[in-house]
């Protein structure tokens, strides 16, 4: 009979079997009746002789060699029934497992999307990112002539190209608006190994000055702006007042995070200014060249240039990083930490469920012994354990995977929108094959662990021992010790996670409250870019700014206003080299950040003056040239002297008088080291692009739209963009986000770990109480007080908690040193954090062990003694 037919014939077979046995039964009864036995007696005797009908049926079924699908279905239903009989255990075990598997799978999905999935370029491991390094730091821009020389002189790259990641201004219905995009040299996409899906790539030499201006479109821009219309090729678009022809569309999966978001990829036209730095480089290593060789080669090239062009290239070296490092390097520590946190959590969850399985196995020891005595083979009993464990693991795994989906969605929601756009690989976040395989693997591992735990337990004691009451003698103690060790490990792990979370939260707090040298609340900011044609001359620019500031100051609620050409708490610095007139050049470049600010800047941001004075708005180009320096510069270059009254010069022919010193403003990122900065009056060197800041007595957020419309009313042709309050700027800074997301993530893990650990402790103590009921009953009967019982139980759990704390403390300190990259202003062994975390753990654990202790103390001695 084919197996398919068997499936349908099964029901039939059952009916037949029942009928057959019933016939035998009735025939036997009839025979007895015929020989004179009364009917009811006959039935009774026959029933005795028959024995267990179900057993007979089972044997018949077995002898027919029923196929495994049927058997599996039957076993599963049996297993489910067993689990349903113990809802407390099942629910706890399944939820715990689902938590562990779900969290791990979700985190792994992130790790998969970011670190494991290859980048959308050809051979991404052979690509490097190039910078110029200067004494202020290693990751600064290249200039075009430097790029050309690097390209020509290097011996290690098969191709070298550059990109400029700043967007464009595009005309729209409401004036000029900023559009995301980048400028690239002609071979950029070829270096990356990317081919357009529509149209063509730039050809070699398309970046020559005489070639026409062309641009490539990103896939999402093609979707959004042109509705996937294939006729987009050949259309022109006006970017920054130049007309570009669209020649192709990039693939859907392409993205270049350092320049993202980018809708338009325009051809970069050359510049001859060697001192103008605005480019970053991307290069592909030649076959057989490794990173180290290439690095030293390009460093040599840069060194030669610095000797050839001492005016512009002095102390400008080359710096190189693998492209993958640039793209995922920042997020890698967070992800790896999240992964280890998830792994830890999974471990705790697994240990908890194994614990529960052991408790359950203990309570069913008698049942197992009886079944064994009745003839169940050892194999069958073991098979049942495996079956139940597998069932538990599968249910937990399925729930975990479903939960992982949800978790992934909520975790992505935590990431800010503009960070998401610069991490386009996260759009590919989904449960793909690798992630599923991971979840499956975890489930299988869990099933194995849960099956082995009770089996190993039963191996150590004979089944018959379970029949007697004293059966729990030695083996009970061994298990209790084992369970206790598990709990210590769990509590230790919870301690580690809590400590990590505490350190990160403290770090975040420190970061947000670090002294940035300004008072950031109630300040609204907005970027302005005036038309360079209309405001080409300095007088026009000065007049425009004066007009703007007058208008802004007149707005209701505004207390003061100012402008700057670059705001604090940003990176990609603007720096220049200065000299101190009258002092010999010691050959070292004194490079500092430079900011052009108006007089109102100081009052608007409420900076702190350390000496001298601020400049006023009256100080324009008709007055002598002034400068204000920050205290880092004063300490570095005027040690022990008062810089006020001294002179510095960027251009040796035009020295500047220092009129004031301010306490450092945090010009770089929140966690960047302090650096020297010089502030020059805006009116003495105006420009057509700047940022307007306004301090208001009212809500700074509400001021933003008012500011926008006020500025628009001055000149419709001005580009007005990026309105933001100063507080927003700090809270949305990348450094802040990194710290915040790590803190919240690890905090979430820590809370769950604490819950799991505490539940585990409860389980162990409750089991111990159950085991010792007799002992407690005897003691109480002999006169022990409730307090003695409490002490008895609690001393055991206190020992466990104490051990767990110590283990956790040591591990936490060790782990903290691994985490130092993510900590700010906090030491890895910060005493107050560790102490408070330990306190929380101890308190919750004590509470958890208090409950079974209370139950122990309220044991009725006679009941306890009688129950055995």
């Amino acid at each position: 009979m084919s197996w398919l037919r068997r499936l349908f014939a099964r029901k039939r077979m059952e009916v037949d079997l029942d009928k057959e046995l019933r016939f035998h039964f009735e025939s036997q009864v009839a025979d007895k009746v015929r020989s004179g036995v009364p009917e009811s007696e006959a039935r009774r005797l026959t029933r005795l002789e028959f024995g267990g009908v179900d057993q007979i049926k089972e044997e018949c079924r077995n002898s027919r060699g029923t196929m495994w699908l049927e058997v599996m279905v039957r076993d599963i239903r049996y297993g489910l029934r067993q689990l349903r009989k113990a809802p407390g255990f099942t629910l706890t075990a399944v939820l715990t497992l689902a938590l562990g598997i779900g969290a791990s799978t979700a985190i792994f999905a992130f790790v998969n999307a970011v670190l494991i999935k290859p980048l959308p370029y050809k051979d991404p491991s052979r690509l490097v990112h190039l910078y110029e390094s200067i004494p202020l730091g290693p990751r600064f821009h290249l200039s075009y002539p430097d790029y050309q020389d690097w390209k020509r002189d290097n011996k290690v790259f098969s191709s070298l190209d550059v990109y400029m990641p700043y967007g464009f201004m595009m005309a729209s219905a409401d004036g000029l608006r900023q559009t995301d995009g980048a400028r690239v040299s002609a071979g950029f996409f070829r270096t990356l190994g990317v081919k357009p899906v529509l149209g063509r790539d730039f050809y070699d030499g398309e970046d020559r000055p005489e070639a026409a201006r062309t641009a490539l479109l990103s896939y999402s821009a093609w979707q959004r702006r042109y509705g996937l219309n294939p006729n987009v090729i050949g259309q022109s678009v006006v970017l920054d007042r130049d007309s570009y022809t669209i020649i192709g569309v990039l693939p859907r999966e392409f993205s270049f995070p350092p320049a993202e978001p980018a809708d338009f990829w325009a051809i970069l036209k050359p510049s001859t200014c060697r001192g103008c730095h605005g480019l970053f480089g991307v290069a592909r290593l030649k076959d057989g060249i490794d990173f180290g060789t290439a690095f030293s080669d390009i460093k040599t090239v840069a060194q030669n240039l610095s000797k050839l062009y001492p005016d512009t290239n002095r102390e400008q070296w080359a710096y190189m990083q693998p492209l993958t490092e640039v793209i995922v390097g920042d997020i890698r520590p967070v992800l790896l930490m999240a992964l280890s946190g998830a792994g830890l959590l999974l471990l705790i969850a697994g240990v908890n469920v194994a614990n529960l399985m052991l408790v359950r196995a203990e309570s069913r020891k008698r049942e197992m012994a009886v079944r064994g005595a009745l003839g169940a083979s050892r194999r069958r009993l073991v098979a049942q354990f495996i079956r139940e464990a597998a069932l538990l693991a599968v249910i937990g795994g399925v729930l975990g995977v479903l939960g992982a989906q949800e978790l992934m969605h909520s975790l992505t929601a935590l990431i800010p929108k503009d960070m998401m756009t610069s991490m386009p690989y996260l759009h590919e976040l989904k449960l793909d094959g690798r992630v599923f395989a991971f979840a499956l693997g975890l489930t299988a591992l869990a099933a194995l662990l849960f099956a082995l735990a009770p089996i190993a337990r039963f191996r150590s004691s004979s089944i018959s021992a379970g029949l007697t009451e004293r059966g729990r003698g030695a083996s009970g103690v061994t298990w209790r010790r084992f369970g206790a060790n598990l709990v210590v490990i769990e509590l230790g792990m919870a301690m580690v996670l809590l400590a990590a979370a505490g350190l990160l939260m403290k770090s975040l707090y420190r970061l947000l409250h670090t002294d940035v040298g300004i008072v950031p609340d109630h300040v609204a900011t907005i970027h302005v870019q005036a038309q360079s044609g209309k405001y080409g001359k300095p007088e026009q620019q000065v007049a425009l700014v004066r007009n703007i500031l007058e208008k802004v100051n007149a707005l209701p609620g505004v207390k003061s206003a100012g402008v700057t050409q670059k705001m604090p708490i940003e990176d990609a610095d603007i720096t220049e080299i200065f000299t101190i007139p009258g002092y010999p050049d010691d050959g070292q470049n004194k490079e500092v950040a430079v900011r052009y600010v108006s007089g109102g800047y100081w009052t608007t941001l409420k900076t702190r003056l350390a000496g001298g004075r601020y400049f006023t708005d009256a100080e324009d180009s008709s007055q002598p040239k002034l400068a204000i320096v920050n205290s880092t510069l004063a300490k570095l270059y005027f040690p022990g002297q008062n810089p006020v009254g001294r002179q510095i010069a960027f251009d040796p022919k035009q020295p500047l008088s220092i009129v004031g010193v301010i306490d450092d403003i945090q010009e770089g990122q929140l966690d960047a080291a302090p650096r020297g900065a010089v502030y020059l009056p805006f009116y003495q060197s105006p420009r057509d692009g700047f940022i307007v800041l306004a301090r208001t007595a009212q809500n700074d957020h509400d001021l933003l739209p008012t500011l926008t419309s006020a500025l628009a009313s001055i000149d419709r042709g001005m580009a007005i963009y990026d309105p933001m309050t100063m507080d927003e700027k700090i809270h949305d800074a990348p450094a802040t986000y990194l710290h915040r997301s790590s803190a919240w993530l690890v905090g979430g893990f820590a809370v769950v770990a604490l819950l799991l650990g505490v539940v585990g402790l409860y389980g162990v103590v409750a089991y111990s109480v159950g085991q010792r009921r007799r002992e407690i009953g005897v003691r109480m009967a002999l006169g022990a007080q409730r307090s003695t019982v409490y002490r008895m139980i609690l001393s055991e759990s206190c020992r466990l908690i104490g051990l767990g704390l110590v283990v956790g403390l040591i591990t936490a300190v060790a782990a903290g040193s691994l985490m130092h990259k993510l900590l700010f202003g906090v030491r890895a062994w910060d005493a107050s954090t560790l102490a408070s975390v330990g306190l929380i753990l101890a308190a919750t654990s004590l509470f958890a062990s208090f409950l079974p202790a209370r139950r122990a103390a309220s044991i009725n001695p006679t009941d306890a003694l009688r129950a055995e």
Binding site: D16, L17, K19, E20, L21, F23, H24, E26, S27, Q28, A30, E49, F50, G51, G52, Q55, I56, E59, C60, N62, S63, R64, G65
Partner: protein
């Protein structure tokens, strides 16, 4: 496998007995048990727990074939019959049984002589 009173039959033997009984014509399970009891002069009483699994096993192995027919009491019963394959098996197993018992009897007779 348990039989009442005196004999403990090895498993294969029950199969042989069943085949022998069924060879005489289509017969249902109850009648098989009665027949074995009869033919062994009440020495062998086969329990349902052994009989029916054996019957089903033999049916699965295609030694017996079964059909539902009305019985002598009027109720429907499952009647077993020997298949051609079963007939051949019966012959083969009967022969090997005869040979086995002859050999064993030889050895036992020899030993008994030595002792007595």
């Amino acid at each position: 496998m348990k039989t009442k009173d005196r004999f403990d039959l090895p498993q294969g033997t029950l199969d042989l007995l069943i085949m022998r009984v069924v060879a005489l014509g289509p017969i249902h399970g109850y009648a098989i048990a009665q027949r074995i009891q009869q033919m062994s002069r009440e020495a062998l009483q086969v329990q349902q727990g052994s009989l029916y699994p054996a019957l089903h096993r033999l049916e699965y192995k295609k030694v017996l074939s079964a059909q539902w027919q009305p019985s002598e009491t009027g109720r429907e019963a499952k009647f077993y019959e020997l298949t051609a394959n079963g007939r051949a098996q019966l012959k083969a197993e009967t022969e090997s049984w005869k040979r086995l018992t002859d050999v064993v009897g030889l050895i036992l007779k020899g030993t008994l002589e030595g002792i007595s």
